[in-house]
Symmetry: C2
Subunit: 156 residues, 2 copies
């Protein structure tokens, strides 16, 4: 029972983060583990610390951790002469996550384009709204990388 010590506030925040990530489509246990790793004072937690701190089963923890590893949300480190793995948030990957959110646009664009292309020509106003939408999303997806550069420079 190598639990991580957590204040009441931290426990509440883990639930809060958990619910947030559930809304993003993660299963409850996955979302809690991610929350724990974000909130805990200790950044690198062992398998046992994770499942015992959250009162979830080993199997649930195993599956959840593997999901988080596979989607690059977390990674693990090892220590010489220690068989355990220590899991931590891949905070370095946040840029990628944000970009993925924008990437969503491009599949949105091609879907709407596909709809537009097969539509009857008789519904002019509707088709032109679709065109508008495509135009806007295309504009956004070209502007976004520039905006990103702008921010990167302003940071220095």
């Amino acid at each position: 029972m190598t639990k991580v010590i957590l204040t009441k506030k931290q426990k509440e925040l883990i639930e809060h983060v958990g619910i947030f990530f559930e809304h993003q489509g993660f299963p409850p246990a996955v979302a809690r583990i991610f929350g724990l790793l974000l909130v805990s004072d200790k950044l690198e937690l062992s398998f046992e610390e994770i499942y015992s701190s959250l009162n979830i089963s080993k199997s649930a923890a195993s599956n959840a951790i593997n999901l988080l590893l596979n989607t690059n949300k977390i990674e693990y480190i090892t220590k010489p002469g220690d068989r355990k793995r220590y899991f931590k948030v891949r905070i370095d990957q946040w840029e990628k996550m944000i970009k993925e959110r924008f990437q969503g646009f491009s599949s949105y664009i091609s879907l709407i384009q596909e709809i537009h292309d097969q539509r009857t020509k008789n519904t002019k106003a509707f088709n032109s709204s679709l065109k508008d939408l495509i135009g806007f999303l295309t504009f956004m997806s070209t502007e976004f990388p520039m905006l990103y550069e702008k921010w990167r420079k302003s940071k220095k």
Copy 2:
């Protein structure tokens, strides 16, 4: 059985659109109905046309349509001396949908802020990455409205 006539290509596209909206979190039947209304030559479809064209039950259609109405994805019109309602996509609402996508950022920001504020001060690098992330998202959420204006002007 007042089915809408659909080409094979249109039927396929409805499924394609359906799967896309399933990924966005809509139930299958809801996603199909939305797909049908986007793809069909006829823009305004009656209750019966919808459920019979998609081979879904009346109850499924009723619930799905109400969900789409409640979330402003569709609306309906009526015709004098005709008790039916004719449902159509609220294409005018697409701007709002995009904005909602960005609105998501602000709740993301406040969550990360909350995590950052309660963290131990001992994990400097990690905390500073969180700060970076907050800075970037804040930057994006202020720049977005400007970008939107830029597009609107360029359109005219």
